[in-house]
Subunit: 355 residues, 2 copies
DNA sequence: TACTTTCGTGTAATCGATTACATAGAAATT
DNA sequence: AATTTCTATGTAATCGATTACACGAAAGTA
C-alpha cells in the first residue's frame, strides 16, 4: 500500500498507466506515441493528450534494453582537468548532443589498471561507443581493446592512439608541428636548439621528437642527442633541466619543448639567470595552453585544435554507427594540421622591428 | 541464422546461456553470481567457472531497469572547458568512481533552454542524481527543478545555486573571499579600490560585490558605486573598462576583479599606460586560474577549491542516497572557505623588502 | 516410522518499453 | 450477397536481469 503510493508519488507514468486509463493496450499506446504503424488519428490524439496530461516521460532505460542502444558513449582520458582534454570533451559533447547521445567521462590518471577497469565498466553499461586517449603503452590493454571490438562497439582514439587494426583515429600531425616550430627557431638564427621531450613510448612525443630532429637535419645544422632530454610535463622539471642546460660549456640558444609547462619552466630559469628572451635564447612550447598567450612575454606554441579534434572524433563515431550495416568496419584516420603560433618568446625579428 | 551468428559473435553471454549450458535455470545462475540466497557450494562454483569461461558480463542496463538504479549521475555545467568546472568534475568523478557511479556531463553554454533540455534528458535516462551549477536565474527552470524533486532524484547545486527548499548546496563563501581580498588591498595602503563585477543576478557575483563593499565600509573608506562596473569575464572587457577607469579625474589605486580574466585585462591596460603594478596600482582577481601563478607578475587571487567542491558535492549525493529511506529529505548546505593567495600583483610590502 | 524443518532449485512475475503476428470489423470488390 | 482487402487494435514474446513464492528431497526430531 505504502509502496504503491510511493511509486505513484515519484511521478512515474508508464505506457501501461496510459493504456489502463484509456482502456486500450500498451502496444497501442506505444504505437501512438511513436507515430509508428497505422493508428487512427482519433486514438493517436487521445493518447498524446493523455500522455502529456499524465506527464508521461519515456523510460530510456527500458528502450535501451529493448533496442540494445543506450545512447551513451564513453570518453576515457588521462585527466579531465587539463585544458586540452576538457576542450576535446567539449567538442565531443557539442557534436553528439544534437544526436541524443550522452557523454560519460572516465579518467585513468595514467593508470593502466584504471584504464582497463573503465573500459570494462563502459562495456557493461552498454555504451554505444568509446572515444579515448590512451594512457600508456603496454600489451595488457590490447586485450581490452579487442574486447571492445569483439562486441562491435565503435572504438575511436584521439590524440594518443594505439595502433590497432580496425580502429579509427583522430590525431594531429605532431611531427609537422614540431618540424614547423623547430624550423621557425632556426629561421630566427638559432643554431643550437635543445629539446625538452617526454616519454617517447607515447607516439605523440616520439613524433614531436622526430619532427624536431628532422628539421635540424634538413637545415644542415648539427644534430646533438645530448641536448634532447626526456622529462615530464611540469613547470619545475622544465626549470631544473634548463638549469643544467645553461650550465653546459656549450649551452643552447633555443629550446623547443614538447610541453608548454616545461617551456614555462625554461623561461623562468632563463630569466632567473639573467639571459634575455628571445634575444639570447628563444623558446617554443607545444599545446597552446591558455597561459601561453596571457604571459607578458607570450610563448610561441603549437596549437592542437582540441575543439576540432573532439568534433572530428564525434563525427567519426557518428559515421561509424550511421552506416552500420553490421559487419562493415570503417577505419578512418583523421590527421589534423597543427598551427604554429609565433609569439614573443621566439620573435627576434618582430621584436627588433618594434624596438 | 545469420542473425544468430551475429549475436553470438558480438560476444554477449547472458545468464540464460549459462543456465542452458548447465541445465539449470537462470534464477539459479543469478543467485549463484550474486552470492545471494543459499546456493550449494557446488553449483556456485560451477556457475562462477562457467561464467568466466563463457566470458559473461552482467548487463547493467537490465539491472538498472529492474532495480530502478542506473548508477549514472548527471553533471550540468555552463561549460566544461573552464579550469574551474573541469576541476570540479574531476573531483566528482574521483569520488563517485569507487562507488560504481558513472558521470554524464552536460553543458548549457549559459542557455536556459539547453539547461531545461538537459535536465529532462537526464531524468528520462533515469539518472540517480543531478549535480549542477545553474546558468541563469529565471523562473522557467524552477519547474524543471521541481520535476527533479518530484521524482525523488537527489539534486545538488554547486557554486552557482538557486535557492530552493530541500536542495543541498556546496558553495564557497564568496562574500568572505571578496572581503578578504579587498581587506588585503586596503592593508596595502590602497584608498580607492575599483571593482570589476559581473551579472549580479547570479548569487556568487552579488556576494563578491557585497563582500567587497562591506570591507570598504568596515575600513572606514568611502564607498563609491561609480567605480563598481558590471561586465563579463573576458580579458578584452577587463582592458576596456580599466582604460575608462584610468581616464577618470580620480582614478583608482587598486582593482578587485570578480574574475581573473578581467583582472588580467586590467593588468595589461595598466602596464600599457605605463603605470607600475603593484606600486601605483594593485590588482587582485578571483578564481585562481592557473595562469595567475604562471605570470611573470603573478596575480593575487582567491582560490575556490574546485577539487574539494566536487568531492563535497559527490559526498553530499552519496549521503543522500545512502540514508535514503524513502521520504527522508536531507538538506545540506556546505560552504567552503575561500583562500586568498597573495601574489606579486598586490604585494607592495614584500616587494619593497625584496628591493 | 511419521512428521517437521531446512536447503537448493524451479516457476513465473516484474522492470517499461517495442514489435511480429493474429484478429475483428469495416470497407471495397466482384 | 459473398469474398477479399484494409485498418486499427489486441496478444504475447522479447531485451537481461532479480526475486517472491512454491515445491521436492534431504535431514532432523519424536
Amino acid at each position: 500500500m505504502y509502496f504503491y503510493k510511493k511509486i505513484r508519488m515519484s511521478g512515474k507514468t508508464t505506457i501501461y498507466d496510459i493504456a489502463k486509463k484509456l482502456n486500450i493496450t500498451a502496444a497501442t499506446v506505444s504505437r501512438a506515441l511513436n507515430n509508428n504503424t497505422k493508428i487512427s488519428e482519433a486514438t493517436r490524439k487521445l493518447v498524446m493528450e493523455t500522455a502529456s496530461q499524465m506527464n508521461y516521460k519515456q523510460n530510456k532505460l527500458a528502450l535501451a534494453l529493448k533496442s540494445g542502444k543506450s545512447n551513451n558513449i564513453g570518453v576515457i582520458v588521462p585527466r579531465i582537468d587539463s585544458n586540452f582534454f576538457a576542450t576535446v570533451i567539449r567538442g565531443i559533447e557539442e557534436e553528439l548532443h544534437p544526436h541524443g547521445y550522452h557523454v560519460i567521462i572516465c579518467q585513468t590518471r595514467d593508470d593502466k589498471n584504471l584504464e582497463i577497469e573503465n573500459i570494462d565498466a563502459l562495456l557493461n553499461a552498454q555504451v554505444d561507443g568509446i572515444l579515448m586517449s590512451i594512457s600508456n603503452v603496454s600489451n595488457e590493454q590490447n586485450e581490452s581493446f579487442n574486447r571492445i571490438l569483439k562486441k562491435n562497439v565503435p572504438l575511436i582514439f584521439f590524440d594518443r592512439k594505439a595502433n590497432i587494426d580496425g580502429v579509427s583515429t583522430v590525431t594531429i600531425n605532431d611531427f609537422q608541428g614540431a618540424y614547423d616550430a623547430t624550423t621557425h627557431l632556426i629561421a630566427q638564427g638559432c643554431k643550437r636548439i635543445a629539446h625538452l621531450s617526454n616519454n617517447r613510448l607515447i607516439e605523440i612525443f616520439r613524433d614531436r621528437y622526430l619532427g624536431y630532429k628532422q628539421a635540424i637535419i634538413d637545415s644542415g645544422l648539427e644534430f646533438d642527442e645530448s641536448i634532447v632530454i626526456e622529462t615530464i610535463s611540469k613547470v619545475e622539471e622544465g626549470r631544473k633541466i634548463t638549469k643544467k642546460l645553461l650550465e653546459l660549456d656549450n649551452p643552447p640558444d633555443a629550446i623547443f619543448s614538447s610541453s608548454d609547462f616545461t617551456a614555462l619552466g625554461a623561461i623562468q630559469e632563463i630569466n632567473a639567470q639573467g639571459f634575455k628572451i628571445p634575444q639570447d635564447i628563444c623558446v617554443a612550447g607545444f599545446a597552446n595552453e591558455p597561459f601561453t598567450k596571457f604571459m607578458e612575454l607570450s610563448i610561441t606554441s603549437v596549437d592542437q585544435s582540441p575543439l576540432e579534434m573532439g568534433r572530428m572524433a564525434a563525427n567519426v563515431f557518428l559515421e561509424q554507427v550511421g552506416g552500420n550495416n553490421g559487419n562493415i568496419k570503417i577505419e578512418k584516420k583523421v590527421v589534423l594540421n597543427p598551427k604554429l603560433l609565433i609569439r614573443e618568446s621566439s620573435s627576434k625579428f618582430q621584436l627588433q622591428k618594434i624596438i
